[in-house]
């Protein structure tokens, strides 16, 4: 172990963090929107909506993400129609292809999580809301969605962490995010262990902060479940939330 080399490596790898975070944030947020749509389609009961959504989730969860990235980045270019289309300037960029693949992939996993959350909304709550005169979007926005979100959040947190790790695959389509830089450095110096430690520390730090952030959001969202009269034991609740995310 050579401290000077480790420091130099670490500083170089830090340069990849913005790209890693960009890929993760954009694909997770875009994926969440698609996931919500898919979950609503699966729950709609109309088979014309249910089956396409189920087929999509089946395909995306049953095939490797790397194959999906290659399908979008290399595969689509096989068709002249795509190469001449308006979308070509986007589809020939590895950056956008990686984001597209990551978002489409996480959407399938997210859809199942959200579907589970929606399923967990107690029927009585919906009936009570209806009795109060709520319906449609208002019912969804005020009652169903917040309760479902609370149920889904711990599992969705796991999915977000998996996505941070999945951004590393973007390096295979030439993007220089943390893993991409690490791979280049390893191939140049063959000092795999030192570089692995530096890159690993960066991912562990990102995922640790994410776990904490999700636990915090969970804590905020479950304020009504903690008795007001009981003394607040934030540390125990935080720990329980962290444990839940780690199953």
């Amino acid at each position: 172990m050579d401290p000077a080399f480790m420091l130099a490596t670490f500083l170089q790898l830090l340069g990849g963090i913005p790209l890693t975070l960009q890929l993760a944030v954009i694909s997770v947020s875009a994926g969440a929107v698609i996931a919500l749509l898919l979950a609503l389609m699966m729950r709609s009961g109309a088979s014309i909506l249910v089956w396409p959504a189920r087929g999509y989730v089946f395909f995306m969860r049953g095939t490797p993400l790397l194959v999906q990235i290659f399908l979008i980045y290399y595969g689509l270019a096989q068709f002249a129609v795509v190469r001449q289309s308006l979308l070509w300037p986007i589809l020939r960029e590895p950056y956008w292809c990686a984001i597209l693949a990551l978002a489409l992939n996480t959407a399938a996993y997210g859809a199942e999580v959200i579907r589970g959350g929606l399923q967990a909304v107690p029927h009585g709550q919906i009936e009570a809301a209806r009795a109060c005169g709520m319906s449609g979007l208002l019912l969804f926005r005020r009652i169903i969605f917040p309760i479902a979100l609370r149920h889904a959040l711990p599992v969705y947190g796991n999915e977000i962490i998996l996505m941070v790790k999945a951004t590393s695959l973007a390096s295979i389509v030439t993007l220089a995010e943390v893993t991409g830089i690490a791979q280049r450095l390893i191939a140049e110096t063959y000092r795999a262990i030192e570089i692995f430690i530096c890159a690993g520390l960066i991912y562990l730090a990102i995922n640790f902060l994410l776990t904490r952030a999700i636990a915090l959001v969970e804590h905020r969202l479950s304020a009504h479940l903690r008795g007001a009269s009981r003394p607040r034991d934030d540390r125990a609740i935080m720990q329980a939330a962290v444990d839940a995310t780690h199953y």
């Binding site: 095939t63 490797p64 993400l65 290659f70 595969g75 962490i161 951004t167 893993t179 262990i193 692995f196």
Partner: protein
């Protein structure tokens, strides 16, 4: 050339190489799963043991390997493995660069990552066994080993099945990453085919279909096995 000629078994068809590659994917996945089972068992035993050191080591193992991208672990094994073997080789008097077989590095890398997940699955399965059953077995005069073999192990297998099924699905898909080391599994073969025929979509879609077949058949089989394993457990 039509799709069926392209993926067929004729003189210009890629059918046979693709099938061989699919078999390679399956073989690597099985090997990785086996490596993972060894690490998972040791990890679970360490996490359940009273030794604080063993517990801390196992905790570190699962935290790091579940928090770091698998691709990075594959690079570590691929480059680090050959560097280590070359160093040992030089020490023993060999010359030049010595590579490690891609199958071995791939199975080890994916296996050690899956071992971290299997550790949690096995640990949870052991904890799911009612304490009373173990106490009863001991009260009957069974030795520790006999109790493990007759009471603990069969139930661990039963309770671990759903989790192991998930790990297996993940391992199957993760083997695609081994293609970066040059091992000719399904994805690498598709890359080769796509490169020489300029029909990437056809090849990657075929690869996707084969992965889908693997995962779908596994899901179906696992649900059958699970149902059989749970037949003696009362349904709630």
């Amino acid at each position: 050339m039509s799709y069926f000629e392209l993926m067929g078994f004729g003189p210009l068809g890629w059918g046979l190489p693709m099938l061989e590659a699919a078999a390679m994917t399956f073989a690597v996945a099985v090997a990785a799963m086996a490596v993972g089972a060894v690490f998972g068992t040791i990890g679970a035993a360490a996490k359940l043991s009273r030794s604080r050191i063993a517990h801390a080591v196992a905790d570190g193992y699962t935290t790091v390997l579940r928090g770091v991208p698998d691709l990075l672990v594959i690079y570590l094994f691929y480059f680090g493995g050959s560097a280590a073997v070359t160093a040992v080789g030089h020490y023993l008097g060999a010359e030049g660069f010595i590579g490690v077989p891609a199958f071995l590095t791939g199975a080890l890398a994916v296996g050690i990552v899956s071992g971290a997940y299997q550790t949690e699955v096995i640990r949870a399965a052991v904890l799911a066994i009612p304490r009373g059953e173990i106490e009863a077995a001991r009260a009957f005069g069974m030795s520790r080993w006999k109790c493990n073999r007759r009471i603990v192990l069969p139930q661990v297998v039963r309770f671990a099945l759903p989790g192991m099924g998930n790990v297996w699905q993940a391992v199957l898909k993760e083997t695609a990453l081994i293609s970066v080391t040059g091992l000719v599994e399904l994805l690498r073969q598709s890359q080769i085919g796509a490169g020489s025929t300029r029909q990437p979509f056809a090849f990657y879609m075929t690869a996707a279909a084969i992965y889908l077949l693997f995962t779908a058949v596994s899901t179906w089989l696992l649900s059958r096995v699970e149902m059989r394993a749970m037949r003696s457990v009362a349904k709630a």
